[in-house]
């Protein structure tokens, strides 16, 4: 912030004057509002080991003048090109090793060096193959004001989506801070990146070293009869681009989701892809869709269990072969992580001259390799001035001799003396500080800057901004991005003379027309279907529980209510909400009360417990997050958080319990409303809706069945319960006033397809949805739903025409339970038909077998 002589750097002046206007209290207030915004949007951190803590951004950005940034970008572009040249060599001719320029340890003892990427003969790389199209560097500014590279990030550095999110949220929450400031926009970078991916796809298609082998596309595919969707359409004009993520379990899930949106590409997991005839396809509801470019955000070692980590069943078997043949472009390529070895920094100046014929434009933080005796002696002389790192492991934490006890330091030196080539040392420098908003106003704190670069086909381009990260007091500065803590937006400020350059939103280059791999991946359809089912199951459970506690809470129960409670307990047991022992046969409801409370408090047991259902809904919501609008996702998470929060208070108070049930019903209603009003009626909505209708249909059958398991004399309380559970009391009263008779009640809840809480409505909707999903001509599944509907309407007619309706109604449970099972079967057929459930992959030849026992001569 200040220059070497204590004065304010000029680019801070305007910023400080803008921000001073907020006043002291304003700072903390802004920080709070920002935190709340990140919480609401569910921007979870990429912070290792912190679970799902929300992202934090300081209201004060880090300003960098455009000229200074241009210098940085130029230096990093050179560096990226240098790293690419080294990669070409270590995965190619290996001249640098053969001539002794690089010590073998940097490559051969480097776990990120993947020998599977170093093939020759027919499996050699295609001419012009590039390893890196994306690069990031972590930088620190020393007391002299110069930026130095602390770490090179070649293996898909995280944080870029957070940088975008920081900017967006700041602009929304503190728009006044942007007033009068001219900063460069981030969006153009994503346009460049998107076009670069597009270009790679076109090159891939044009290379045409690959041709679909005979057999593919002729209906011979063994897996779930998946047809090939797009073999007829050449992908030359509309390449399929997909971002490969480890999935929702990854701490980078949020980033991957946001990135796939920014770049308008499909977000896929390994299991969504399949290799056929040497090409890579995405499994969608409409069949297999060709993927031309894979933006890899899965660890290199995990991408292909056939050639790399055999235990990685989240990879795509055959991907490496497809890539070598040119059938797909993987970016960044596997194996690029080798360049993250900290010790490489010691060779970069030499390598720059050797490979580029230039001097390195941006220095690294001074780094030495301890395999070198002179370097070792230098570090020995003043160990406290250095940080020790593993030479080839970019993710290892730094050890600071200055913070060690004498004993620990001796042990460290002994370890190094034994295998010095395993270690590197970097200067322990104090990065310059920037003001940050703390609990007591502004405090200066050291920052690390991450800058992102992408190769546009001709040159490296920087994102004009970045992600700054505040170092906390005891944090080790090793360049592994965000530990727990605070981030800062980075503003590249236009120089005053730049002001006439026109609106900052202007894209830098024309955007290529693109069509993304749009059809719904089978996995997403699967998850949406189950989300629909579980939201409904949660709602149904809440209605059951509410009806039960309404009766239990009254204390002295009347005989009529005992009948109802017994019926309810059967439904609760059937729904796995309480264990079977809690079923009420006679007497009071103590056992039931206990079981119910336990179920609400317990996690995971019984299987249908409310807490368990809430967890499942939360997990499914996360897995389809990329298909939900921000508003929807936010509504989901806010409501789920509320339910969890209120559930904590549930002790023995029926009232507290009721509050949770109300939360749940409100949540379910808002999901229904949002789905109806905010989701396009495409594949995603169809499956969410289908899941919901199936679950409700099944629940109605089962609950009405259990309610009617009575002697005809007690039919009246049973009918009242049926109306209550189906939320149809009011409708019934308006139609029939207060007289309860079996036929009218059953007509309303089972046969009337105008009642959205009734069975007929669900079955009709299921038929309609299945027609839409399968398209015209294939009515096999929807026919089943219609058959069920016809049958149930006929049954209700029989009751209406029976001489004693009560007797006829009490015969229904058996049929209703059978129909519940029929609906379950239908649901099963739907999942099998559309979601192409793949059998588990297993690896051969790397485990117990193949032990050549080699007999003695």
């Amino acid at each position: 912030m200040v220059d070497g002589i204590g004065g304010l750097r000029p680019h801070w002046r305007q910023l400080v004057s803008t921000f001073t206007a907020f006043g002291d209290g304003g700072w903390t207030e802004h920080a709070k509002r920002l935190n709340a915004a990140f919480d609401d949007e569910g921007v979870t951190g990429i912070l290792p080991g912190t679970g799902r803590q929300s992202w934090r951004c300081d209201p004060l950005p880090l300003p960098i003048p455009a000229t200074e940034f241009a210098h940085l970008a130029d230096g990093l572009a050179q560096r990226a090109e240098l790293l690419e040249a080294v990669l070409q060599d270590v995965y190619g001719a290996q001249q640098l090793l053969a001539e002794g320029v690089l010590p073998p340890v940097l490559v051969y003892d480097n776990e990120a060096y993947l020998r599977a990427c170093h093939m020759s003969g027919p499996a050699r790389r295609q001419p012009g193959h590039r390893f890196m199209d994306f690069y990031a560097a972590d930088l620190v500014r020393g007391p002299d004001g110069a930026w130095r590279v602390l770490a090179d990030r070649t293996a898909g550095a995280a944080g870029i989506a957070y940088a975008r999110e920081n900017r967006r949220t700041l602009a929304r929450v503190i728009p006044e801070a942007f007033r009068g400031m001219q900063m460069r926009q981030l969006r153009p970078f994503f346009e460049i990146w998107q076009s670069a991916l597009q270009r790679m796809g076109q090159e891939r298609a044009a290379a045409a070293r690959f041709a679909p082998p005979p057999g593919v596309g002729q209906g011979q595919l063994p897996l779930a009869q998946l047809p090939l969707a797009d073999l007829s359409t050449p992908s030359l004009t509309n390449p399929g681009i997909a971002l490969l993520t480890p999935g929702t379990g990854s701490r980078h899930w949020f980033e991957h989701m946001m990135l796939s949106r920014e770049l308008s590409c499909a977000l896929v997991e390994g299991g969504d892809l399949t290799v056929r005839g040497g090409a890579v396809y995405l499994k969608t509801l409409k069949g297999l869709q060709r993927v031309d470019v894979l933006l890899r955000r899965l660890d290199s070692r995990m991408i292909d269990p056939l050639e790399l980590d055999a235990g990685s069943l989240i990879g795509v078997p055959g991907l490496m072969d497809a890539e070598r043949s040119g059938a797909i472009r993987v970016t960044n390529d596997a194996g690029v992580g080798v360049m993250e070895a900290p010790a490489f920094a010691a060779w970069l100046p030499t390598l720059a001259i050797r490979l580029l014929g230039e001097k390195l434009k941006i220095d690294s933080v001074p780094t030495v390799w301890l395999g070198d005796r002179q370097a070792r002696e230098m570090v020995w002389r003043s160990p406290e001035r250095w940080m020790i790192r593993e030479a080839v492991n970019g993710r290892s934490a730094a050890i600071e001799p200055a913070r060690l006890t004498a004993d620990e330091r001796r042990t460290l030196l002994e370890d190094i003396a034994r295998e010095p080539w395993r270690y590197a040392a970097t200067t322990a420098l104090a990065p310059s500080v920037a003001p940050c908003v703390g609990p007591n106003g502004m405090e200066p704190k050291p920052v690390i800057l991450r800058v992102y670069m992408v190769f546009d086909g001709e040159e490296w381009r920087a994102m004009e901004g970045g992600l700054a990260r505040v170092l906390e007091a005891d944090e080790k500065m090793c360049g592994a991005l965000p530990g727990e803590g605070l981030s800062k937006d980075v503003w590249v400020l236009n120089d005053e003379r730049d002001d006439i350059v026109g609106p900052p939103m202007m894209p830098v280059m024309p955007i290529a027309i693109r069509r993304t791999t749009g059809d719904l991946p089978s996995r997403v359809a699967d998850n949406l279907f189950w989300l629909g089912r579980y939201v409904e199951r949660l709602e149904g459970s809440a209605r059951l529980v509410r009806a039960t506690i309404l009766r239990l809470s009254r204390g002295a129960v009347m005989p009529r209510e005992l009948v109802e409670l017994a019926a309810l307990s059967r439904s609760l047991v059937a729904a796995d909400l309480v264990p079977a022992e809690a079923k009420m046969v006679s007497g009071g409801g103590e056992a039931l009360s206990h079981a119910l409370l336990a179920s609400l408090r317990g996690r995971g047991w019984p299987p249908g417990s409310i807490a368990g259902l809430v967890d499942t809904v939360a997990r499914l919501t996360e897995s389809v997050r990329d298909r939900l609008t921000g508003d929807m996702y936010s509504a989901f998470t806010t409501a789920l958080r509320q339910i969890r929060h209120d559930s904590q208070d549930v002790s023995h108070s029926w009232e507290a319990l009721s509050v949770v049930m109300v939360d749940i019903l409100r949540f379910s209603a808002s999901v229904a409303g949002l789905a109806a009003e905010n989701m396009v009626r495409g594949g995603g909505w169809l499956f969410l809706e289908l899941g919901r209708r199936m679950e409700r249909a099944q629940a109605i059958c089962s609950q009405v069945g259990f309610s009617l398991e009575q002697s005809p004399a007690r039919i009246e309380p049973a009918l009242r319960l049926v109306l209550e559970l189906c939320d149809s009391l009011i409708t019934y009263r308006t139609r029939y006033l207060t007289v309860l008779q079996p036929a009218p009640v059953l007509d309303l809840v089972l046969a009337d397809d105008g009642n959205p809480r009734g069975l007929a409505f669900q079955l009709a909707a299921i038929g309609h949805l299945l027609d839409q999903i399968s398209g015209p001509g294939d009515g096999a599944l929807s026919g089943i739903a219609r058959g069920l509907l016809d049958d149930i309407q006929a049954r209700v007619n029989t009751v209406a025409e029976a001489p004693d309706q009560a007797v006829a109604a009490c015969l229904l449970p058996e049929i209703l339970h059978k129909h519940a099972a029929n609906i379950a079967t239908l649901s099963d057929r739907v999942t099998r038909h559309y979601f192409a459930l793949l059998p588990m992959a297993q690896t051969l030849g790397m485990g117990e077998e193949n032990v050549g026992t080699g007999g003695t001569v």
Partner: protein, 289 residues
């Protein structure tokens, strides 16, 4: 010596496998002292796609992709090979082992050997193994003298016993139980040599076996074999030694290829979808002609 090799691997699955891919290291490597006269790999059922290449270590690799449901998969190598590895150098003429142990530093003469001085996924460094192996290498001893001593010690101290280890058994366990099969002795010896900084690599192949006295030779009774490639410095290069049989490889071994450890050249590696449980049958025939 000329050999005919037939190496047949069959996977039989409990349920049909829908989709399978295999990476195969089965082709004998052409070497200055190993002439490959003929060789062919036959897979059944016929793969929908095949590709080939040369791996990082110079071994030939085949990839096979099957996309039709199949209840079993068989892959067979047929080859005819002539081997005549030269006699090893005079052990006393080989350099002191400490000199060979500078290989890790790399440079024009030894950068390729350096790769085999580092621990690898299936051959970790182990303190007990390091201590055991170091006893054969007192200061200044010529490298091959040390290796010959070590071979004899392994033969005496370890029992050849099938079934007490798997391919995943760590060398430390083999050291403790003093028993195992050829892969275990090979991995153990490699681990110990690397601890001293000596380059050592895993060689995969076959060895000629003879029936017990008075019995006829049974077809398919031979097995895959593994031994250690040792580097004697730039002047002498690599020499293969067989710790299971306490001998220096001459003309009764056929080389398939080499790598850092078994993981680099598993003969038939694969990933299948479906299949349930599977059974593996391997038969090897090495016939001197």
């Amino acid at each position: 010596m000329r050999f005919q090799v037939e190496h047949k691997t069959t996977f039989t699955y409990a349920e049909a496998v829908d989709l399978a891919c295999h990476m195969v290291h089965l082709l004998p490597r052409a070497l200055p002292h190993q002439t490959v006269i003929s060789r062919a790999i036959v897979a059944e059922p016929t793969p929908a796609r095949q590709s080939q290449g040369i791996d990082h270590f110079g071994n030939e690799v085949n990839w096979l992709f099957l996309d039709q449901a199949h209840p079993h998969f068989t892959i067979t190598l047929h080859a005819e090979v002539e081997v005549a590895f030269p006699a090893p150098p005079d052990p006393d003429s080989t350099p002191p082992w400490e000199q060979v142990a500078t290989a890790r530093e790399g440079g024009p003469a030894q950068w390729q050997a350096a790769e085999f001085t580092f621990a690898s996924p299936m051959v970790a460094a182990d303190r007990d193994v390091a201590v055991y192996v170091a006893k054969s290498f007192p200061p200044g001893r010529p490298i091959l003298v040390g290796l010959i001593d070590l071979l004899a010690r392994i033969r005496t101290d370890f029992t050849f016993q099938a079934g007490v280890t798997t391919i995943a058994t760590p060398v430390g366990r083999v050291m403790a139980q003093r028993a195992g099969v050829c892969q275990d002795f090979t991995h153990l010896m490699i681990s110990g040599l690397r601890s001293l900084g000596l380059p050592a690599r895993y060689v995969s192949g076959y060895i000629r076996t003879r029936p017990p006295p008075g019995q006829v030779r049974r077809r398919g009774a031979d097995q895959s074999h593994a031994w250690v490639g040792c580097w004697l410095g730039p002047a002498f290069g690599w020499v293969d030694v067989d710790p299971t049989n306490n001998l220096i490889v001459s003309d009764e071994h056929v080389v398939l290829g080499w790598g850092r450890d078994y993981g680099d050249l598993s003969p038939v590696r694969g990933v299948i979808l479906g299949g349930g449980a599977h059974r593996l049958d391997v038969s090897v025939d090495l016939l001197a002609v």
